[in-house]
C-alpha cells in the first residue's frame, strides 16, 4: 500500500510539473497562440487572462472528467465546447462585474478562451481519459504554465515598448521606448525568439 501511495503521489507531481516545462502548452506544444500574442502587450492583462484560463481549464476538466463515461465519439467536441463556453460566460460576467477596466482592455479575447486549443486539448487528451484528481492537477499545471509563459512574454514586451513593468517606471531615463514591441510585429518576433531560446536550452540538455 505504501508503495502504491508513493506511486500515485509521484504521478501527481509528474503531471503537475509536466505543464510547467516539459509539456508547456505554449513553448512545447504550440497551443493557444492567439491569446498568447494578443494580450501580452502589458503584464496586467496577461495575468488576468492567465487567471481566467486557469479557472476555465480547472472547471471544464472537472466536468469533462465526471462525464467521461457518457461521451459519444461524434458528439465529443461539441460537448467539450458547450461545457467550456458555459464556464467562459461565467468568467466573462465576473470580469465585467468586478474588473470592468480589464474586461474592456481584453475585449473579445475573454470569450475567445472558448476556442483556446489548450482547453479542448486537455479535455481530449487528459480529462476524458483520467479520473478527477489527475484531471484537476493536470489543469492546474497547464494553466500555471500558460500564465507564466504569458507573463514572461508580456514582461519583455511591456519593458521594451514603454519602459515600465506593472505600469511603474523601471528603466533609466535615457531609455528610448521601442514602439514596435507594442504592435503585432513585437508579439510575433518576441515569441519567435523565445521559442528559439527554449529550443536552444532543451537542445543542449539532450
Amino acid at each position: 500500500m505504501a508503495t502504491n501511495g508513493q506511486g500515485s503521489v509521484g504521478i501527481y507531481r509528474g503531471t503537475l510539473l509536466a505543464g510547467l516545462w516539459r509539456e508547456n502548452p505554449v513553448f512545447r506544444l504550440l497551443l493557444g497562440m492567439c491569446p498568447t500574442l494578443a494580450v501580452t502587450a502589458a503584464v496586467k492583462p496577461a495575468l488576468t487572462m492567465g487567471c481566467c484560463v486557469i479557472f476555465v481549464l480547472v472547471c471544464s476538466n472537472i466536468v469533462v472528467s465526471l462525464m467521461r463515461n457518457l461521451l459519444r465519439p461524434h458528439l465529443r467536441i461539441l460537448m467539450f465546447t458547450l461545457t467550456i463556453s458555459t464556464f467562459v460566460t461565467i468568467a466573462d460576467l465576473f470580469l465585467k462585474a468586478f474588473q470592468p477596466e480589464m474586461s474592456a482592455a481584453l475585449g473579445p479575447y475573454v470569450p475567445l478562451i472558448i476556442v483556446n486549443c489548450i482547453i479542448i486539448c486537455r479535455a481530449e487528451a487528459c480529462a476524458s481519459k483520467n479520473g478527477l484528481a489527475i484531471s484537476v492537477i493536470d489543469a492546474v499545471g497547464m494553466g500555471v504554465g500558460f500564465t507564466i509563459t504569458l507573463c514572461a512574454l508580456a514582461g519583455v514586451r511591456e519593458l521594451l515598448a514603454t519602459g515600465k513593468l506593472f505600469e511603474a517606471n523601471v528603466m533609466p531615463g535615457w531609455f528610448v521606448p521601442w514602439a514596435a514591441m507594442g504592435m503585432p510585429v513585437g508579439a510575433f518576433v518576441t515569441l519567435g525568439l523565445m521559442l528559439g531560446l527554449v529550443n536552444t536550452i532543451t537542445g543542449k540538455k539532450n
Binding site: L37, I77, T89, L191, G192
Partner: protein, 196 residues
Amino acid sequence: METLNVLLMGFISVVLINNLVFTKFLGICPYLGVSGRIDMAFGMGLAVTFVVTLSGTLTWMIDNWILMRFGLEVTRYVCFILVIAGAVQLVEMYLRKFFPPLYDSFGIFLPLITTNCAILGLCLFLHLWEIDSLVEAVVRSFGAGIGFTMAICIMAGIRENLELADVPACLKGAPITLITAGLLTLAFIGFAGMIR
C-alpha cells in the same frame, strides 16, 4: 451609392486594415499548422471563408433578432459556438459527399475549423463594431474569410521557399514562421491610414 460606399469600405477594412490574422492574432493555429503547401492552404482558406460567411450571418441574425430582443445576451457565447459547430458539420458532410480527395487531405484540420478563433472572433467583432445592417454583416464576414485566405496563402508561399533557406537550427520550424509572420504584419501596417 452611400450604402455601396459603406459596404466597399467595410470589405476593404476587414480584408486589409483589420485583417484577422495580422492585426487581431486570430486563426494563428491553422496559419502555423496547415500553411506548408499553397494548394492545401487555398483549400483551407476557402473552407474557412464558407464557414465564416455562413456563421457570421447566422450569428448576427440570432444576436440581433432573438438574443437582444429578449434580453438573452448571457447565452450569446453558447449560441455562437453551436452555430459554428453546426456550420462546420455541414461543410464536412458536403465535402465528404462531393469532394472525397479534398476531404481526405484535410484530415483532422476540418473538424478543427470549429475551434478556429478567426470564426468565433469575427462573430464577436461583428457585435463589437456595432454593425447594424444584415448586408454589411454578410459583406464583412465574407471579407474576413478572404482576408484569412490571403494571409494563409502568402504564408504558404513564403514557407515553400523557406524550406530551401539556411535557418539557424534553434529557429527551425515554428520560431522562424512566427518571425516571418511578424515581418508580414509590418507590411500590413502600411494600410493602416487608408480608412479608419
